[in-house]
Symmetry: C4
């Protein structure tokens, strides 16, 4: 019997498995430019806070905007379902671990109140901040009028897997190209991970793409559904789509790696792999200012049908200012993210993010064997 | 001295090492068709409960059949060796861990009673359920008359490694082609893992193949014998054999991945790798209705010569209904398996199982380092 | 600057990373032939007990010979340095862990007594057993006359790394070809791991080769020296050398994989990778009859200059009879090794060890994450 | 849509993943030559102690020089910032773990005193020892006059990532070629990891290169910045650069692998991968004579902006004499490093370090699963 050619599976990579190779020249960190442009909007810092209720509320959105970055307010969470959102957040935070998923399911089953959508957006705008908001595809058509009337600056349409084409009998799919044409603010869409899905969505006219699905262990999408793609590979592939689209259209659509980054090292790897921006959740959930007060949960946690992920205690480690700009005495990479990004770029000899995409990323499994930690190479110098 | 070309070993993959890439379009889960056909029998749900005494008895076989799936009753276990099978199950369940293998060896050394074989089958049939039963090759000839007389619907001939050709002096081997011709009900045979063994068995006229050998850590076949093949590779290879056989014969013989799936994610990966159905053991052993009452043991555990595997406490987590169809507040992928399968298919943009085989499976090692769990990417949205 | 072609490193494999694929036919275990020939000597069982003081003494050598296998008595250990060897063994066994290396260094620094060499060999021969003895290259010339006078049957010349050529000023190297010509009994030499070293040694006229260096974690050669080669690759490479030598000379020199096998699965993998025999240490150290009484230590542990490895408590698990032939209620692969070998051969459809070398060995990393053990696939049937 | 060719990432390797294959001949360890030449200076032992305050002070520099190796005194640490350096070291050693980074940041923010630079160098020279000192690029110009006036023998210019070209507005970069021409003592520069950076630096006229960046788990450069390159790959690449430069210039510039070696095995692997020398930190921090008294911290730990790494308790295990030359009863590879190097070279059949570079290094993941440690292959003999 002739043996067939067996199917080869592609190897994909996550943050823990790669490292950035330093460059042949070095650049002083203070000479690096890390700006991110989304449509006409310029962000001084290419970092975006996740549309998660433990991470972003009106206050943190305002503070982050003033620091030069962006926070996305989720319009289908406690902020728009409950007038007294802090009370509800407290209920979540104090729920016993064994009941928390059921409690989340109950809390999130409440309807969205359009007047609260308007109210939250207006509060952010009134403070002079840039306002970005997030909705799922199913609710987009209904909420867009409220969102634009309240003068939000950026619309994020987000679901676990988003594609330009969707087959459904139960409701008319959202047509992205129509959406992008019908409103004047930039539309960011996600999440997606593959070259072709990313390219197709860019062709619809979006202003940015969120990259990543089920990247980590706390989000259980991969455990529940088997679906996933590690973040480094997802970012590399979507960056190729962005470059291909730029070549065909002359329009540069930034890609934003979303999820799975637990420290500055992971964040730097995302940029070196091709990201123009990053979306962080758990790192910001650790801020003193975070609405989750040291707790964190995903937006697919409360799904009534197929809950994925749970509430996690991440603790509170520092202020937003320290997390983003230092100074710090923390040595695990969770503070001074901007300093880390500029230093890594300096080591790679690049002066802006697009040049950073040319840095070499290598496969370099990390050694995490507990007992060996102290033994390994203190050989780093200033 | 000229160095020779060193032997290259083929890399194989298990569930933990792969992920399913989402598709370029998405489909609403409620528009997916997940039917499985075995011969003329149609199952609404492509899931089969293992022929293990802790998983399947007469009652669970009846309940599962009514839910649209299949449970296989093992005809060489406590159900056919003991009239009072529940008493014996209790003895197994309450045995101290240090003595359990010896107790299992003693219990399973009793002879099969043909009248009990008939009685169990008839009980299932009387309830209007589809009745599938399992025997080992050595006992097949002897038991087939009883099985057909009692009007079982499906015969499963199962051993750790099954091939179309067997060399033995001590007994006349079972000739599969003769068996398949001699009886009118569909014959499922297994287990097998390789392309050529699978193809040969299909040519004998079987109606289905069980795929997999020693896939997990609890089954110690690999530790005792060194023999094994991870389930993703086994499924990919046998799927190629099925497709080759379909091309040569026009007959589509479903392959059923058996063993090693611990959650919905693993199950979805089996389908994406090419399975037409899956056989689950430990997940069903956790059902409230399971005869093992939270305990689970393999059928090769009690081997008097070379016991492999032991009794394991899996606990009881939910009803069969919850495990299969939800609703659930469990987020680890052990409940609402059907919902998970339909959602994963939706993310891959496919509408039936055969189309699901075209989804891309990638190598994506999971990060399981304990201390990192909470840190990793909560970035999943609805 | 033109980037050079970076050096590619060869990937090597150990037992934990591979599995044996079952065959396209199956054979009844009782129809397999597992004989091993060393020179003119036929062993019914292709298993050899290590020349280690915790494993082999006069009594166990006699018992194993009667069971059809071989035990090698180390002629540079406590048996030939001390008349009252049992007293010395007790001292080792009862030494506190913190002092044991220093105590071993002191005990093993005693000189070899030639009269004890003769006495131990004669005791084994008197019992009608096959007597194999082991010496290091440096002591071979001096001890060979005693060994041959006492009528040992097999001479093993063993050091961590053995080659056909050795550069030294301090002593005249042992010339293997002269040794092999000068004595009439078969000479087994080792250890070696590479194709070319193995081929060169075979050309010197030896009757067998021990394969492997620093294969495991307990032997710290790799930690101390960085030198090593995983056992599957070492076996595959030396098997190629054996086959090449057989082709050039017509003489079939068996290779014996030595070390790193912790259960029947590992042992079966060694055979499938090309071994004609295996040498086991720690498994036999667990026998009720073992001189180490549940303790085990390597022969390079007491090196006064560079001790590698330490005394380890392995415990006592069963009799030699159970370990080799069962019956057993142990399910972890440490008992009934002969049954396991025959069963694995049956699953691969082969009838003798040389045919077993054609079985496919695949790379299949084992999943050992503690918490997942019970969850993984109980799907093994008889 | 045509799928693009996805980007392939290069696989890199660290010490834990490789092993050295023994050779086809063996050499007596006492016949190996392990000399290292840096410029005109000959070291009997190719090992250099790190420029870290817990490892090297005036006393240890003198002792190590007398033993034939080199210790590098850091000129920007406690020795040159504080007259009473021992008092400051005590403060560091006794700081509570939670405050230690902040305390280090405060202590290291003091200015360098040039009179102390001179005093420390002169103390070493007065004892008749070879004196090597280390500075960062930013302080080199200022300190070189003091260093040369005090008659240091070797200058090390060291930062985390060093390149021949640096972009900065804030200060005039250090021009290496000018530095090398302007002073008469050998200049060692580092750290670097890539082929091209290494080659460029060699062309500037340096006498040696330090290889490695963030190689280990204790140094958190990789966690904070994502930047890194495992030591085996870094060494292989820089060795290629050294050989290319030797071919183009006729000048042989030794490369010194710096960091990540935790035992003799790692050290031997560095040499086999192409290193001419190694720089060790944590192993020497364990010496009875170490100024850190069992504690160890990196020089980038106290960075005020982005601290990386922390103070670690390594304990005290033996004297410098034992660590370097034995004798020892320690079996974990942390003592008798010189004996280990000579033995490994003997196993590989090589007589000097440059010949050792031709040994084959293979990829051979270590098995570190805790529970398996004792089980694995005691099969090592003398």
């Amino acid at each position: 019997m002739v043996k067939p050619k067996f199917k080869e599976l592609r190897r994909t990579y996550g943050f823990d498995e790669v490292a950035i190779m330093p460059g042949d020249i070095t650049v002083n960190p203070d000479q690096t430019n890390i700006e991110l442009n989304i449509g006409e909007i310029k962000l001084a810092v290419p970092i975006i806070a996740s549309a998660m209720d433990g991470v972003t509320d009106v206050d943190t959105a305002i503070q982050m905007s003033k620091m030069g970055l962006l926070a996305v307010l989720h319009l289908e969470g406690v902020q728009t379902k409950y007038e007294n959102s802090n009370e509800i957040l407290n209920e979540i935070i104090h729920a016993p671990q064994s009941e928390v998923t059921a409690i989340l399911q109950k809390i999130y089953s409440a309807p969205i109140k359009e007047e609260l959508v308007a109210k939250r957006i207006e509060a952010i705008k009134k403070a002079g901040a840039i306002c970005a908001v997030s909705v799922t595809p199913a609710n987009t058509k209904r909420l867009v009028p409220v969102i634009t009337a309240a003068k939000a600056d950026i619309l994020v349409v987000q679901s676990t897997v988003t594609t330009a084409r969707h087959v459904s009998k139960s409701y008319m799919g959202l047509i992205l190209s129509e959406l992008c044409k019908s409103i004047s603010i930039p539309v960011i869409v996600g999440n997606c991970v593959s070259y072709s899905a990313c390219l197709e969505i860019m062709r619809e006219g979006v202003a940015g793409i969120l990259v990543g699905i089920g990247p980590g262990a706390a989000c259980t999408s991969r455990q529940v559904l088997g679906v996933g793609d590690p973040q480094v590979t997802a970012t590399l592939d979507c960056a190729m789509a962005r470059d291909a689209y730029y070549k065909e259209s002359g329009r540069y659509v930034p890609i934003i790696t979303d999820g799975g980054m637990t420290n500055g090292g992971d964040m730097c790897k995302a940029f070196a792999s091709g990201a123009d921006g990053v979306m962080l959740g758990s790192i910001f959930a650790q801020a003193k200012e975070a609405p989750g007060k040291g707790y964190h949960w995903g937006m697919s946690t409360p799904s009534p049908v197929l809950p994925r992920g749970t509430r996690i205690r991440v603790g509170t480690t520092g202020t937003l200012q320290q997390i983003l700009f230092g100074p710090t005495s923390v040595t695990d990479g969770t503070q001074n993210l901007v300093g880390a990004l500029r230093t890594a770029m300096g080591f790679c000899g690049v002066t802006d993010i697009r040049e950073f995409h040319t840095a070499e990323v290598v496969v370099a499994p990390s050694i995490t064997t507990e007992g060996k930690v102290w033994q390994r190479g203190m050989g780093c110098t200033t």
